[in-house]
């Protein structure tokens, strides 16, 4: 049914995210080596691999279950800063979904997920964190819905906004997370969490394609 987002779509999203993170693991770790502690790729790869296992072991029966389970698994298995942050994103997103899931409902839930990340990490856009990819993605999604876009288009636009947001972290000076310790030296490097957020949003667009 067009406009309806079902369990399989979200399963495809988490699987796609796992594949993307695996494929880009060394690049993410490399970005983290430049301004952090060289573990972001390993962290997310471990996390999304565990998400895949959990979703196979306890097959979810609703989109909300997929996302809450993914978030819980990320919190339980990743550690570091990104574990609680991505975990909260997915959990809050899942918890905010009404059944059946409409595109507009998803966009609102996604906004709520991103806000949860902002609350937890006390970061705002421009602090050179994953927020710099997630917040523009949320806005793009909401706007696409308002403009009547279908899910393919809407997710595409969100993914593009995330990607642009990630690249836009390069000239920024980090003010949150480990990269903030570098002061001026954090300038000129892409934030690893923003980069992984862009990958995850691209996986959503691909899952709906």
């Amino acid at each position: 049914m067009a406009g309806m987002l079902d369990t399989d779509l979200f399963l495809a999203w988490t699987e796609g995210a796992a594949r993307a993170v695996r494929l880009h693991r060394d690049r993410l770790t490399g970005l983290d080596a430049a301004i952090g502690d060289a573990d972001h790729g390993t962290n997310l790869d471990r996390g999304f691999t565990e998400v895949g296992k959990a979703l196979t072991e306890w097959p979810p029966t609703s989109p909300a279950q997929v996302l809450v389970s993914a978030g819980t698994t990320l919190i339980r298995r990743v550690g570091g800063a990104s574990g609680p942050l991505y975990g909260s994103l997915f959990r809050q997103l899942g918890k905010s979904l009404d059944t059946p899931v409409t595109l507009a409902g998803f966009a609102a839930a996604f906004e709520s997920g991103v806000q949860a990340v902002e609350r937890l990490g006390k970061a705002a856009q421009g602090d050179k964190t994953m927020i710099d990819a997630l917040a523009p993605a949320a806005r793009a999604l909401t706007q696409a819905v308002q403009e009547g876009a279908d899910e393919h288009k809407a997710f595409e636009r969100a993914a593009r906004a995330a990607e642009e947001g990630a690249k836009a972290t390069i000239p920024l000076r980090a003010r949150k997370g480990r990269a903030s310790y570098l002061g001026e030296r954090s300038i000129g490097h892409e934030d690893p969490g923003a980069a992984s957020a862009a990958l995850i949003m691209a996986a959503l667009a691909e899952a709906a394609a």
């Binding site: 770790t29 080596a33 430049a34 301004i35 952090g36 502690d37 060289a38 573990d39 390993t42 962290n43 471990r46 919190i75 339980r76 298995r77 990743v78 550690g79 570091g80 800063a81 990104s82 574990g83 609680p84 942050l85 937890l120 990490g121 000076r173 003010r175 949150k176 997370g177 480990r178 903030s180 310790y181 570098l182 002061g183 030296r185």
Partner: protein, 326 residues
């Protein structure tokens, strides 16, 4: 880079097996390290944890006079809430539990989540943030917790052993943190098993100033210099933030790859520096205590002592990594 490991994925698990096999005083289960004899009824429990790769911190500081349980995460990755919850429950002897948390976003978030989720145990939390290399905390995640973590664990551990209540143990832990400052210098980066190559490149004629303990780059670079100058540089940074006076506890800590003989060379310079400021080193530690895998370099941690802190520092401790005065 060659590593004495089986696989990059299994290194924490394998090392914990070795730790358990080597120390009958410890018990290891589900990535938590406990005292084998369990919590002492009525004693405040001390729990700490953080990424692995900093050994002996924290796991080898579990034992009488120090921690009740430690949660080692993956290499340089904060532990997950499940570990912290398990550790907190197991460390509780009925008098509540103190979480000793190094101030990193990851550690803070995971410990907070854990504390929220085990609301059946009274939990107090102390943030260790001693690293003077992190300036203008308005624009950063705040000062990192580094070497002072050991001081906090030792001194709060001693007070807990005396039977003090949770708020008192938390109070002294915060006092130690307030009285402590650190600064680190790296001669080389370190190599994580997963990355297999140095986290950053450092030319032969440069040092990295103001490093943390995750192998992350520091605030700036400076030309390589004799031990005397590097020690003075670190001590000036500390002295500028917490003027050195009276009785000091000083740790010259190796980052993991520096020979002990070089740490003693640095300690001689630090001691002379302190004397030059009219203060006194009355207690000291020289060795690899809060490490960053195989990084070459050192950090200096200074704590301004008072009567109570000195007494608690001297109190018996019996852990694999720190042991005296039983």
């Amino acid at each position: 880079m060659k590593k004495l490991i089986n696989t990059a994925e299994s290194v924490v698990e394998d090392a914990l097996n070795g730790l358990a096999a080597a120390h009958p005083s410890l018990r290891v289960r589900d990535r938590v390290v406990y005292r084998a004899e369990g919590p002492r009824p009525g004693k405040v429990g001390l729990v700490s944890g953080g990424g692995s790769g900093h050994e002996p911190l924290h796991a080898a500081f579990v034992g009488p006079g120090m921690l009740d349980a430690a949660c080692p995460g993956e290499i340089f990755t904060s532990p997950v809430p499940d570990q912290i919850i398990d550790a907190t429950r197991a460390a509780d002897g009925g008098a509540g539990v103190l979480h000793i948390v190094k101030n990193y976003t990851g550690d803070v978030l995971n410990f907070e989540m854990a504390a929220e989720l085990c609301d059946d145990v009274p939990v107090a939390s102390v943030l260790v943030d001693d690293d003077v290399a992190v300036q203008d905390s308005l624009y950063t995640a705040g000062r990192r917790g580094t070497g002072a973590t050991l001081f906090v664990e030792k001194i709060a551990g001693a007070l807990a052993e005396e039977g003090a209540p949770l708020e008192e143990v938390a109070r002294v832990a915060r006092e130690v943190d307030d009285h402590s400052r650190s600064f680190g210098v790296a001669l080389t980066s370190c190599v994580t098993p997963a990355a297999g190559k140095p986290t950053f490149d450092l030319p032969e004629d440069q040092v990295e100033l103001g490093i943390g303990i995750h192998g992350e780059p520091g605030r700036s670079r400076a030309p390589m210099a004799p031990a005397r100058e590097l020690a003075a540089l670190a001590m000036e940074a500390i002295h500028g933030d917490l003027p050195l006076r009276d009785d000091l506890l000083v740790m010259v800590n190796g980052m993991g790859g520096t020979p002990l003989i070089e740490l003693y060379v640095v300690f001689a310079e630090v001691e002379a520096f302190v004397r030059g400021k009219g203060a006194r080193v009355v207690r000291s530690l020289v060795g690899n205590y809060v490490t960053s895998l195989d990084m070459q370099g050192f950090s200096i941690t200074v704590c301004r002592l008072n009567g109570e802190l000195t007494r608690l520092w001297d109190a018996p401790v019996e852990t694999p990594g720190l042991r005296w005065g039983r």
